[in-house]
């Protein structure tokens, strides 16, 4: 099958903005008196409008990475740039969807989405239109006045996606967005996210545990390993969007990535190496 860049797919708004560049990111947490290296020399370049999936085991620093790009945490070494501009603090140009929907329980759906627009200096009716458009985009029309507790998990997560897109960010960061949903809803929302991405065209960086999900959505899948978090492998998925889940290419790539993720690497710990007798 020939690779068709998504920017050539009809209906996809091609973008010139939204290039994310990470260079030599180092991040550590100080846990009591021990230093815990979370990320070590992490570098990655994401093209405008590209969908990059990041998979890796728990504790490999995936979520930390997204928090750094989002600007929720500024204590790291290295540089993160968006379209050449160094990232500092949070910005409406960078959206973030968490694993939990994080809607405020006392606000209706439209108020929750409207909250994301409080820092925008645009007229009230323009705001209302943006909110309505994005509610329609995620297929929640008719639920504007619903409170989060009246929505199912999948619907609440759609609402969270609408909220993160309402400012039309250059890049949308997704931190295991469907991790807490049941399998059926997850498959449904993956298809929806693909549709939304094709319609919206912003750069997407998605963290996931689910290799199938990573391959189905990503133009590129970045495989990470833990201790310290680093990239071990990058897989280009040269398939046009929207994709067919049953594609043999996806299945072959999935087997490859799973094999790598479940492979036990040679211990780098000298003590273990000594026990195994490798040094002799």
């Amino acid at each position: 099958m020939d690779y068709v860049p998504h920017s050539q797919i009809p209906g996809h708004k091609s973008r010139q903005t939204g290039a994310v560049s990470l260079k030599g990111i180092k991040k550590q947490f100080n846990f009591k008196d021990r230093e815990l290296k979370v990320l070590s020399e992490f570098s990655l370049d994401v093209q405008p409008g590209e969908f990059v999936s990041i998979v890796g085991p728990s504790g490999c620093g995936k979520s930390t990475l997204l928090r750094l790009i989002a600007g929720l945490d500024d204590t790291y070494d290295g540089t993160i740039t968006l379209d050449g501009q160094r990232v500092a603090g949070t910005s409406l140009e960078r959206g973030l969807v968490f694993q939990d929907h994080r809607l405020f329980p006392w606000m209706t759906l439209e108020d929750n989405i409207g909250l994301a627009l409080t820092n925008r200096n645009i007229p009230k009716d323009a705001k209302a239109k943006l909110v309505a458009d994005h509610i329609a985009l995620v297929g929640l029309k008719g639920f504007e006045k619903a409170f989060p507790h009246q929505l199912s998990g999948g619907m609440a997560q759609r609402a969270a996606i609408a909220r993160s897109l309402v400012n039309e960010p250059k890049v949308l960061l997704l931190d295991e967005p469907f991790g807490a949903l049941d399998a059926l809803t997850r498959v449904h929302l993956q298809t929806e996210l693909q549709r939304i991405w094709l319609a919206q065209g912003s750069t997407m960086i998605m963290i996931t545990h689910d290799v199938e999900e990573a391959l189905y959505l990503g133009d590129r899948v970045v495989v990470m390993q833990a201790n310290p978090g680093r990239i071990t492998h990058t897989v280009d998925v040269n398939l046009p969007h929207p994709r067919d889940r049953a594609s043999p290419v996806l299945h072959k790539l999935k087997d490859e990535i799973l094999a790598e993720l479940t492979h036990v690497p040679e211990p780098s710990n000298p003590v273990v190496r000594l026990i195994k007798g490798d040094d002799q």
């Binding site: 989002a70 929720l72 949070t90 910005s91 409406l92 959206g95 973030l96 968490f98 939990d100 994080r102 405020f104 329980p105 006392w106 606000m107 909250l115 994301a116 627009l117 409080t118 820092n119 297929g139 929640l140 029309k141 008719g142 639920f143 006045k145 619903a146 409170f147 507790h149 009246q150 929505l151 199912s152 999948g154 619907m155 759609r158 909220r163 400012n167 809803t185 449904h188 929806e192």
Partner: protein, 296 residues
């Protein structure tokens, strides 16, 4: 006791499942949700509800026992007056205007002391929660002082302030201060970090953070503290008036006791209870109003 929300009609009951909104149909792309509003079997609705009868049962029983004890003269009538005598005394203090005068004195005092104490408590609690310096400076003192019963301060306060109005206001304000301060401190400390993160992601201005996020997140718990402080202020007020006052409900009872009018003392006891109950209920309604999104 069953939670109240179980008695609501299905449409008003909050639940995990989404409901169809009246007059609107679901968009084709929406995830599957229940199509029909759910109807519960309405069997129980037809039967006579015993709940209101149960709740007036205990005061009624108390009244019957009281009447019986006095009718059989188990205690001398000067010591334990009969309910009928109390009803008569009620009529007496109302017609002379004595009850209204004392009650309005008490309620004015309560309003003044409570407003001062609760406002200061709110401000102090917020400052304690938001500033590390304030917490270091006043935290331990606050935690220790709130363990001391209000009544223990009365002798000292009488010496310092005399027995005038100021003394009573201070006593009530002290009683109202601590529950509100504690509730404000706890609820601000308890605001999840994720709320601040979401607010920061969307670069919400500080007044939006306060008005749309922090206030709705903390008000329910602060109101619970205010409710506790109001009823506590009322208890302390009546007690303080019993000890030193020239007017007020407690003073009316004290005068009754000195003149062996135990029927008037009983009137005071009943009025104090009913007023306390009413104040508490009023706040309960206010709390329910602040949390109405839960049952929407």
């Amino acid at each position: 006791m069953k939670p109240d929300h179980l008695n609501l009609p299905p449409r008003l009951r909050g639940g995990r499942t989404a409901k169809r909104w009246e007059g609107q149909t679901l968009p084709a792309s929406a995830p599957s949700v229940a199509d029909k509003p759910r109807h519960l079997p309405r069997k129980q609705g037809r039967r006579i509800s015993w709940k209101p009868i149960l709740s007036i049962g205990s005061p009624l029983l108390l009244l019957i026992v009281w009447q019986a004890v006095t009718a059989f003269k188990l205690f001398p009538p000067e010591v334990l007056v009969s309910p009928t005598a109390v009803i008569a005394a009620f009529g007496e203090v109302i017609t002379t205007g004595e009850l209204q005068r004392h009650l309005s004195e008490s309620l004015t005092r309560l309003a003044g002391g409570f407003t001062i104490g609760a406002s200061l408590g709110l401000l102090f609690g917020l400052a304690l929660a938001l500033s590390k310096t304030v917490e270091r400076l006043f935290g331990p003192t606050f935690q220790a002082l709130r363990q001391v019963p209000v009544l223990a301060f009365i002798p000292m306060l009488i010496l310092l302030l005399g027995i005038d109005e100021v003394f009573k206001i201070v006593i009530i304000a002290k009683a109202a201060f601590f529950p509100v301060a504690l509730a404000a401190y706890d609820s601000v400390k308890g605001v999840p970090k994720s709320y601040f993160e979401v607010s920061s992601l969307y670069r919400a201005p500080w007044w939006v953070l306060i008005s749309k996020i922090l206030i709705p997140a903390t008000v329910p718990n602060i109101l619970a503290g205010v409710r506790l402080s109001l009823t506590r202020a009322w208890l302390v007020l009546v007690a303080a008036e019993l000890i030193v006052a020239d007017s007020g409900l407690g003073q009316m009872m004290e005068m009754g006791r000195q003149m062996f009018r135990l029927d008037i003392v009983m009137v005071g006891v009943i009025v104090a209870g009913v007023i306390g109950f009413a104040l508490d209920r009023l706040f309960q309604l206010l709390q329910a109003h602040a949390l109405r999104w839960k049952t929407a």
